[in-house]
Symmetry: C2
Subunit: 339 residues, 2 copies
Amino acid sequence: MKKKLSIIDIANSLNISKTTISFILNGKAQEKRISEELVATVLKYVEEVGYKPNSLAKSLRTGKSHTIGLMVEDISNPFFASIARLIEDKAYENGYKIIYCSTDNDTNKTQELIVMFRERHVDGYIIAPPEGIEEDIRSLIKDGLPVVLFDRHLPKVDTDFVEIDNFFCSYNATRHLVDQGYRKIAFITFLSSQTQLNSRLQGFKEAVLENGIEPIIEEILFNHNEDLIIGPITEFLQKNKHLDAVFFGTNHMGTCGLKVINALGLKVPRDLAIVSFDDYDVFKLYSPPVTAIAQPIEEIADNVITVLLNKLNAPSHHQKTRSIVLKTSLNVRGSSEKK
Amino acid sequence: MKKKLSIIDIANSLNISKTTISFILNGKAQEKRISEELVATVLKYVEEVGYKPNSLAKSLRTGKSHTIGLMVEDISNPFFASIARLIEDKAYENGYKIIYCSTDNDTNKTQELIVMFRERHVDGYIIAPPEGIEEDIRSLIKDGLPVVLFDRHLPKVDTDFVEIDNFFCSYNATRHLVDQGYRKIAFITFLSSQTQLNSRLQGFKEAVLENGIEPIIEEILFNHNEDLIIGPITEFLQKNKHLDAVFFGTNHMGTCGLKVINALGLKVPRDLAIVSFDDYDVFKLYSPPVTAIAQPIEEIADNVITVLLNKLNAPSHHQKTRSIVLKTSLNVRGSSEKK
DNA sequence: CTGAAAGCGCTAACAT
DNA sequence: ATGTTAGCGCTTTCAG
């Protein structure tokens, strides 16, 4: 119906040059010393007819798309979904829109996705990187594209990132189990060299070894399909009946673990005490409620977007990279009651 | 580093016209009867130097952005997060990317978001519409933009939509409670005229009235803030101690309800039987596990994207609109055991 | 203070 | 079968 109008249409209607309109619309009226009345007229007219600049043309010309690419492990994972929600809000507040994708921790998929984001000319990248993606990230940075990693980082790449103090909180949670009297503690995690998982593992080891306890570790292949996580956990728990506590390295692992525990009819914490990473409804509502390490989701999102916006608005691209490490809290609940 | 190359660069390198390149790259070689060898040469060279057409320029020229706008109520809600994940996958498979946003069921916010999506020239819209958005949706359709609604629809707007049989599954779940011997059944829902909520309410009413039971209904203001849901539920349950069963109208309501039930120390199902909409981990893992209405998430996503892609590829824009209504299943569990 | 004009990279009608 | 060229709508330099 109503034909999309362009800057020329409105220039004609107002009998002035489109340059002037452009200047006014881009806040350069002052700088270009355009009369206040003209500015007012133009603004009023533009508002009246509901003119919206074509952002595609604008992007083509300026090279900025005002789009941020967000790559998470899996948007349906509550941790990433919550982060995405918060990042979305902040981004929109600042005039950026988000395009997102789930990497499934798959390096190839992630590479393709990065190519696609580049094609789409996203202005900045927020990535929870899978392993093996170092080269691609480095290449982004080399080309001057702002990148912020979160949840984990790449030790061999000098980038900004924000994450939590994985070693400490894992160490701390393990100590909690020890303090509660547990001795046969297993750490169940994904088989991966991702920094966050590795630090969590180290934190666990440190805490048990320090107490003269032999670490028991079960590493499961990452898979989006729950059955392929539940299966191995079941097997593991059945083979290790002497365990008195389990520490789950991620929320997904924890949820799957609870399913297994229910299926096996184990009583928590009598048969098995439990601690899990990430605090969310499932853990709060379980009976007994599950002791969990709560990540400061809002703070993470805040920091990620702040760092990225800084880089986006940076006059020089040569600022120092920032590593932000945030504190977590251990929410102690019934699942790790004193033995 | 490596300067972004354009179609002209490669035309020059190969000493042919950019038109030819464009034709070849867009699969019009046959149609334009370009020699197979030339096609091969070009394709090979393009691959070699890693040339990627500038999609911005392409979009500006063609008017297609290959982007789909996805508007959900809240991306951090597990139902919407799961749907988003599935839609994302399908869209990427078909060469479309997703930009998404959370409406919070806020009409004004949604209007602004629609304006933004239009500015960004998204090719198609997938929307879980809030109330009062009829005019804006109508205007999208009038302008020839493909729109598919899901989860709910707008009775006064003739659009494609996919949703579940809310009336029936709600009726059915209520009957289940009645069959199990419950008589003082409350339906707790959000105060809203959204079709899915309304149908669920009607289904509940029908089922209880049919059995000579007085419907008890609690309607709570929609809010993103959990405390403002938990508060009213607490109050309601405390004032209505004679209840023997509660039916929660959405997953969020159900989760909040469980928190209240835990806080009040009520035993399920002895003190209160429970049924909730949407089946997810929290309900499966609760003790006792919660009887829930499972939506066919994958089917919903499949249908949504199929319908939208159809419209996107449609030769004519005058196809009939399609209303797709999918079946759910009632997963009966311990929370609604026979009284 | 304002306007003319070049050009971002691409597509497609039109020419050859 | 392949090349020429006119824009898509906008920003921005350069001239008044």
